[in-house]
């Protein structure tokens, strides 16, 4: 048993729902107890979809368990087929139905419906949402893409043709990423065959084989399917994730190579405003800002590169909850000289953020709350997200416009340069102090000063494995007072640096001198 307050990912059948809801002409019959319909509102509320997800639940109850839940499942499948007339169906069990061991595959087969009915095995006690989405998409592609066959040689003169794989319902900025990537491909002269799962029908999946290659936007959901298509039809697929200017340029080069065309029209085009914005002197103060990055693997990797190479930040923490992609994230972390954090426990992430004392956190909805509690600026860069991160405006993460969006997103929460200088000069200014956030964010002054020390709150969150830290030396009063004069956004780091410095030297007391010795030692 694992004690859990917050989970980054839902169970795998939520992933299957994300695929089913993304598509058209597909219906999902989920063997699940009453109550599991809560998942509908992720789609109708967070993503604000204007129709119910195409999911029929058996919603069995205790009194049904004594009778025949298998029969209930069969009648539900039959009724869903009769009512919705889908081109294909997927059937499966949620965690509870997995335990009662009705056999959705066999039961659905016995109905002998005149459409493909694809059974899903989603082990709810081992796997999670993204795996569920990936597996569902893979199963659909396997069942519907047709028998394996080598690709005939392309006729000369035809535009190169690709599929775009990966966007789903409830995906972080998938809607706009897709628009942006379509625009890039169009500028290159590449035609799009099928986009899947988002907007595709089962019949569309039957046309996947017509493309020359596949563009994988989100490896979490599409890599398995892309590998299958490569094996079956010899379609190569892209590896570069087009996040940031560098990522987008690499993506364009890779796509052009796969299509056998010249990437120059796009690479020499107007591109993104990010490079100039980042070079303009206004951005100088961003240099070496300490940033902590956490999210799904795709976004964590993409953002770590943007932060370090395109904005000049220092990545002091990098992690993901996508265990399936731990290897890639570890390799990227090594390039930043740090160790990757692979965990799905937000308390571990909170501890790591505390220890790294960053000036900016890039993460999910959870990191936003953690950063708020720690008083650190934050931007959301990955699912899971709340309703505000399914914005009405155009807000891609990918491509050149995505890079523009990222520049704004990453700089916005930070205090502006002049504010920083004034804070350094006038430390006791009543209008510029701990309680006041960046002026442009309009934060109301906080009555009580924020504790800048990692003091556990009165009712501490449950922390099963409490880290046993070596206690730091006590602070002399005048050193403590001096510490308060340091601008609050770097104070946490000053404190931890000084304490580490004192601990390493086994100093009994942290004095004014220790504070400045440590400052000189660590420099900035």
């Amino acid at each position: 048993m694992q004690l859990t307050l917050w989970t980054y990912e839902g169970p795998p059948h939520i992933g299957a729902m994300r695929v089913a809801t993304a598509m058209t002409g597909l219906h999902y019959v989920l063997h699940a107890p009453q109550g599991d319909t809560y998942a509908d509102l992720l789609f109708t509320m967070i993503e604000r979809r204007d129709a119910r997800p195409p999911v029929t639940y058996t919603t069995f109850r205790a009194q049904d368990l004594g009778r025949d839940t298998a029969e209930l499942f069969k009648t539900s499948v039959a009724a869903a087929y009769a009512r919705f007339q889908p081109q294909a169906m997927i059937v499966g069990a949620s965690c509870t139905a997995e335990l009662i061991q009705d056999d959705p595959a066999g039961l659905a087969k016995a109905l002998d419906l005149p459409i493909p009915v694809i059974p899903l095995e989603l082990p709810a006690y081992q796997k999670k949402e993204n795996w569920g989405a990936s597996e569902t998409f893979y199963r659909l592609v396997r069942a519907l893409a047709g028998p394996a066959a080598p690709r005939p040689a392309r006729e000369p003169g035809l535009r190169p043709l690709c599929n775009i794989l990966g966007p789903t319902a409830l995906g972080f900025r998938h809607r706009d990423d897709l628009i942006e990537i379509r625009r890039l491909l169009d500028a290159l002269g590449i035609a799009v065959n099928v986009v899947a799962p988002l907007g595709a029908s089962p019949a569309d999946l039957g046309r996947l084989r017509d493309a020359d290659f596949n563009v994988v936007l989100y490896p979490e959901t599409a890599r398995s399917a892309a590998e299958y298509l490569k094996k079956s039809f010899g379609q190569p697929f892209t590896q570069a994730v087009p996040i940031g200017v560098g990522g987008t340029r690499r993506f364009v080069e890779e796509v052009a190579a796969l299509a056998g065309i010249d990437p120059a029209p796009v690479l020499d085009g107007p591109g993104s405003r990010l490079p100039w914005y980042s070079r303009s002197v206004d951005s100088t103060y961003l240099t070496a800002k300490r940033v902590f990055v956490f999210g799904d693997a795709t976004h964590a990797l993409g953002l770590a590169r943007v932060a370090a190479r395109e904005l000049g930040f220092v990545v002091v923490g990098l992690g993901t909850y996508s265990r399936e992609f731990a290897r890639e994230v570890r390799a990227e972390a090594a390039e930043h000289g740090i160790e990757a954090l692979i965990t799905d426990d937000y308390l571990d992430v909170e501890a790591a953020i505390r220890a790294a004392a960053p000036e900016l956190v890039l993460g999910t909805q959870m990191e936003r709350h953690v950063a708020k509690r720690l008083g650190i600026p934050c931007a959301v860069i990955s699912a899971p997200v709340h309703v505000q991160d399914f914005p009405a405006r155009y807000a891609p993460q990918m491509g050149f416009e995505g890079a523009n969006v990222l520049f704004d997103t990453l700089v916005h929460p930070l205090m502006m340069g002049l504010e920083e200088h004034l804070l350094g000069m006038f430390r006791e200014d009543p209008e510029f102090h701990d309680g006041v956030g960046p002026s442009h964010l309009g934060g109301a002054p906080v009555a009580a000063p924020m504790p800048d020390r990692a003091a556990p709150p009165a009712s501490a969150p449950i922390r099963v494995e409490a880290a046993i830290a070596v206690p730091a030396a006590p602070w002399a009063p005048e050193a403590e007072k001096e510490l308060k004069k340091i601008p609050f956004f770097v104070r946490g780091r000053a404190r931890s640096n000084t304490e580490t410095f004192a601990r390493e030297r086994q100093l009994p007391l942290i004095t004014l001198e220790t504070l400045y010795d440590a400052k000189a030692h660590y420099g900035r």
Binding site: Q2, W6, Q34, G35, D36, R49, A51, Q126, M366, H369
Partner: protein, 424 residues
Amino acid sequence: MNAPLPHPAPCGGIDLHQEHGQRAVFCGLTGIVWLHRKIQDAFFLVVGSRTCAHLIQSAAGVMIFAEPRFATAIIDERDLAGIADANEELDRVVTRLIERRPDIKLLFLVGSCPSEVIKLDLSRAAQRLSGRLAPVRVLNYSGSGIETTFTQGEDACLAALVPDLPREADTAAPSLLIVGALADVVEDQFLRIFAAMGLADVRFLPARRAGAMPAVGRGTRYLLAQPFLADTARALEERGARRLPAPFPLGAEGTTGWLQAAAEAFGVSADAFERATAPGRARAETALTPHREKLGGKRVFFFPDSQLEVPLARFLARELGAALVEVGTPYLHRAHLAAEIELLPAGTRVTEGQSLDDQMDRCRAARPDLTVCGLGLANPLEAEGLSTKWSIELLFTPVQGYEQAGDLAELFARPLRRRALLEV
């Protein structure tokens, strides 16, 4: 299987139907979201799957980061391999949890569908852990979807508390017990009214703290403040308490009827009752008047959700002049709702249970002016041009009593007002 069952025996003057099929409702685990705010030193540990944790996090939204007093012990493969191991695992998780949270005085082990299906005996676990963790009390109840619908989670929780309540001496003077979690502000208002009626000994279940739960005995008369408390009522009856039949305190009329039941049981004079309730009634009337114009004659359709549907429909029809198209309820407790059924307009169609797609067909065909439904249906129906009032808000907002009657009407009037306001 989605066909309505044959017409059952008539129930009062209403047109009662029962329906079976797909149900779009929450499970009882959702009750934790408000119960953990109400009982301030209780912790709710769900023993379930990732789905359970995901549900509570989706339902609780931002509250998860406000030091929540709930969590999920997620069952994994190893637990499924052997029940003995699962018990050991549970003890380990709970022991560490309590070590970390010395402020917790009452721990609820909350059963879920997976724990019920694998027959993890949480009541034995609660007994075992109560002994080991004393003075922390460990109780258990089921909030599983296979057994409970949304607010029935509160019923199961309160029913689990009842056997544990202190015993009131048989010789003690009769006392009044209000049953059902209410907003603190609502409790305080009711206390003032009861005091004005001369009733000093009024208690609430649940109390705000584990150590302050009310005593129960043969002299206890209880008033249900919520319509979904069947098991709690049964457990109280077993302790010798007796229910005061009453409508529910929603709207001015409901509140008056509810208070009246207590006044009659405790021999409050008509004069004293009039003095205690007149100001509230007058204020409620003032607050309701402007809403009558907006809601009068509007046709309202209720999807089943919380069992509050019947009292709410009664309020809308009688105090605001709305017309009722269909009143869906997940479960209709004939005895507890007798006074409400009496007050519903004759011939009102009440549907117990649900067959989701069929009910949506009826709703679309009727095209009501206002549809009360859950968040899974609200936006899809809005997109079809139907105005909706999402029903969960009716649980998460103080709505009972005279002072909230206007707020309650406003909850229904707001979607209509908004629709009228928007030009694009």
